[in-house]
């Protein structure tokens, strides 16, 4: 990098006199080629044109950073909207990322370019300036050779003469101004129009060095209060009258203009490039994102059930392949679903056919059995008993068939509700009535705790009553002659019925199994009531159809409790039940009747 610097070439004259001397000494010839200034010098004073350039570049960098910060702060303020857009739009994300990354890259490259160009331009100027200064040294010596020590007027004349002669030598280093100074104030008092030479430079020159410094200098041919970036080369001239300091002031306005032009060009083309790349990225992302959006929309429609939806495919590129694979997937999905629908249709028809085909002969058997059963008094005992068994088993067979058909209806997804607002207590009472015969047979009783007011619930009363009959049948099956308690309660959103028995109860983990088809708690235990083993499974399906819950709790030796919770309005989602599942926490419902 080029920094502001003061370069010294020590010992040009072989010695360093500390005061102007009146004798003229021989000055050894300067080296043929002036050495290029030390590049490794890294003093960082920020005076001079090169420094100004770098400062400007830094300022640009800082401004860009500031801009990014402002953008970031705005984004943060924009808050959720922008964040949502950010999360939802791949295009925005890619565009913004490209913008930022390219911006940073172009900024770094720009700074590097400007630095390199500035350094190059200044180095050429410097080399020329040093050459000029070295060449001018002889001329000055010659002019001063005729001046006797102490002769101030002729000395001044010599200075003027040297100035004009040097200026006349023209320059390969461009325009310049000559200033001659002396540490001896009495000598230099006569000098006119001497611009400010930086002290650090003068110190170096007074130490008998050829020195260079970037500093603002007065405009060469204009008003003196205006300064331009400049390069000052100073060299000591030893004469009989002492050591004079000879300064060449090279204006760097042309170079500064060049560098400014380069900066502007780099900045503008950088901004252009970033925008161009961002636009390209947006365009490219759009090309990718559009088919993806089409695919997403198509997938949504597919998911919504429109199985005929496909993506239009054009060409043979990757996007087209995505479309093709998607369409292939949709096609296979459609075929699968069609196949399943066909299977389901067949299943339903099979169910219906079985229903009809099995039921007609069963009806005949049933009627024949009834007839035999009604005449059994006239039969010998074995035949009479056979007729009774035939009748009883026909009942069971019929119940099993009905349950199987009901289950297959759920499996086929064709079960639907006949919703009506009905009093849950009345439905429970009706189910209890229907179960009284069973209760008497089990030497048990059913106790109902219900609120005094009706509990209207939107339900298919036939199914709910069936659930309750199943729960009661199950409870009576396991109650061991202890009473079965039915409790009803409701809140604003839901109504619940619990059926509690104090019989054998359930082992740990069995509460989840009781709803399985043909599940038996204790395989060695016979079914007293001749249930089909499907009752609770059907009840669970019935409860689900209502959007309700059917849950079981049980403890070995303590008993079991089943809880049915229904939303009071059809379609409502259940979040809680007005009755606890575990009876320990049960509270007596106020105003209940038993």
């Amino acid at each position: 990098m080029i920094g502001p610097r003061t370069t010294a070439r020590p010992d040009v004259n072989g010695k360093a006199p500390d005061s102007p001397q009146l004798e003229v000494r021989a000055i050894p010839a300067p080296p043929d080629e002036p050495e290029p200034p030390e590049e490794s010098d890294s003093s960082s004073r920020s005076a001079g044109a090169g420094g100004a350039v770098v400062t400007q570049a830094r300022r640009v960098g800082a401004q860009v950073r500031q801009l990014l910060e402002v953008v970031g702060a705005r984004a943060a303020r924009g808050g959720r909207t922008i964040r949502r857009a950010w999360q939802h739009s791949l295009q925005l994300r890619v565009g913004a990322t490209t913008l930022v990354v390219t911006g940073i890259g172009v900024l770094l490259i720009g700074i590097f370019l400007v630095n390199q160009i500035s350094a190059g331009v200044l180095r050429a100027k410097r080399t020329a300036a040093v050459l000029q200064a070295t060449a001018g040294l002889d001329t000055v010596r010659r002019v001063f050779a005729d001046v006797s020590p102490g002769d101030i007027p002729s000395q001044n004349a010599a200075v003027t003469s040297a100035q004009s002669q040097l200026a006349a030598t023209g320059s390969q280093a461009g325009l310049f101004t000559i200033t001659i100074e002396s540490a001896n104030t009495s000598v230099s008092a006569g000098f006119q129009n001497s611009p400010d030479i930086p002290k650090s430079l003068r110190t170096l020159v007074q130490d008998n060095n050829l020195a260079i410094e970037y500093a603002p200098i007065p405009q060469p041919n204009g008003s003196t209060d205006q300064t331009v970036p400049g390069l000052i080369v100073g060299e000591p001239v030893t004469t009989q009258n002492g050591v004079f300091e000879l300064y060449y002031l090279f204006p760097l306005s042309a170079e500064a203009d060049t560098i400014a032009l380069v900066q502007r060009t780099v900045l503008l083309s950088g901004i252009g490039l970033v925008l161009f790349v961002a636009a390209i990225s947006l365009l490219v992302t759009r090309q990718v994102v559009r088919p993806v959006r089409v695919a997403a929309k198509t997938a949504e429609r597919l998911a919504a059930g429109d199985l005929a939806q496909r993506i239009p495919v054009r060409g043979t590129d990757d996007i087209a392949r995505l479309g093709e694979s998607f369409n292939a997937m949709a096609g296979s999905l459609q075929r699968q679903i069609r196949r399943l629908e066909e299977l389901s249709r067949l299943q339903r028809r099979f169910t219906s056919d079985v229903s009809h085909e099995l039921r007609t002969p069963l009806t005949t058997i049933r009627m024949a059995g009834e007839l035999l059963h009604s005449q059994r008094d006239a039969f010998p005992p074995e035949l009479a008993r056979s007729a009774e068994l035939l009748q009883a088993e026909l009942d069971r067979f019929e119940a099993l068939l009905a349950d199987l058909l009901e289950i297959s209806r759920y499996d086929a997804g064709v079960a639907h509700l006949e919703m009506d607002v009905t009093d849950l207590s009345a439905v429970a009472a009706s189910a209890i009535d229907a179960s009284q015969v069973l209760a008497e047979r089990q030497a048990s009783e059913i106790i109902l705790h219900a609120p005094a007011q009706p509990v209207p619930v939107a339900m298919d009363a036939r199914r709910v009553e069936r659930i309750l009959r199943n729960l009661l049948g199950n409870a009576l099956d396991h109650c061991e002659s202890r009473p079965v308690v039915v409790t009803i309660a409701a809140d604003d959103h839901s109504a619940a019925v619990t059926v509690r028995d104090s019989g054998v109860g359930l082992r740990a983990g069995e509460a989840g199994l009781v709803f399985n088809r043909f599940w038996r708690g204790d395989p060695s235990r016979s079914r007293l009531t001749g249930g089909t083993g499907l009752g609770l499974a059907i009840s669970l399906e019935d409860a689900r159809l209502h959007g309700g819950w059917l849950q079981a709790w049980g403890e070995r030796g303590v008993g079991a409790q089943f809880r049915l919770t229904l939303p009071r309005r059809a379609g409502d989602e259940l979040s809680s039940s007005p009755l606890p599942l575990e009876p320990d926490a049960m509270v007596d419902v106020p105003g209940s009747t038993s």
């Binding site: 219906s352 229903s355 039921r359 007609t360 009627m367 009834e370 007839l371 209806r409 209207p456």
Partner: protein, 229 residues
């Protein structure tokens, strides 16, 4: 005189068994095994009640039902193997008065038939009037005649019974269960779809606008009642 029964069923074993049961219960059954011959047999035998299997070869049970209902109010009881709502409702809407689901018990079937054959001879002269005052529906109970604005309305015996049951107690709300018991003769709660379908059929005949009933009113969550006279 024994009530005549026409059994329309393609299953010969079931038909024969039905014959045995019906004869032993004091009916006079005749049989037809396909849908196409059903209407002719109906004309020949002039039955008091028809037992109709819904799944028949030839003409479907629903078509037979509609054909009979188009010319007569004779009670029709469906024998169906399907208890799914759609099948039952389709049958009832085709004009069937009641249905029994196979496999049924003989006693249940006979009870259904007797309920449909019940006569109201005991009623002396009785005239009822319900519906809006400016256009009431008048019912002459012994004559089994219903008129509105002077023109007669043709009701099946079941629809007539349903209307009379409601009209006799104009302010009372009847639950579907009560109606099932009074009109259909069910002792225990049965399928309330029967009531819904027949109330709709009745409305389509007696109401000026079945969408906004004035004669048979729905009481939400409870049941039905007759409109104010």
């Amino acid at each position: 005189m024994k009530p005549r029964v026409l059994v329309v069923d393609d299953d010969s074993a079931l038909a024969e068994m039905l014959g045995i049961v019906l004869r032993s219960d004091g009916f006079d059954p005749s049989f037809v095994s396909d849908g196409t011959g059903a209407l002719a047999a109906f004309h020949d035998t002039k039955p008091d009640v028809v037992l109709l299997d819904l799944m028949l070869p030839g003409m479907s049970g629903l078509d037979v039902c509609r054909a009979i209902r188009a010319e007569s109010g004779t009670p029709i009881i469906m024998l169906t193997a399907k208890s799914d709502t759609i099948d039952v409702v389709l049958g009832l809407e085709s004009g069937a008065d009641d249905y029994v689901v196979k496999p049924f018990k003989p006693k249940e079937l006979v009870a259904r038939m007797r309920a449909r054959l019940r006569h109201h001879e005991d009623v002396a002269s009785e005239t009822l009037s319900i519906g809006p005052a400016e256009s009431p529906v008048s019912i002459d109970v012994p004559a089994h005649q219903v008129t509105r604005d002077g023109s007669p309305i043709n009701l099946t015996p079941l629809e007539f019974d349903l209307l009379v049951a409601l009209a006799r107690k104009p302010r009372q709300v009847f639950t579907r269960e009560v109606l099932l018991e009074q009109v259909w003769g069910y002792r225990h709660a049965a399928d309330t779809r029967l009531v819904n379908v027949h109330v709709q059929r009745l409305r389509s005949k007696v109401e000026r606008d079945p969408e906004r009933p004035e004669v048979v009113l729905t009481v939400r969550g409870v049941g039905y009642k007759a409109g104010p006279p």
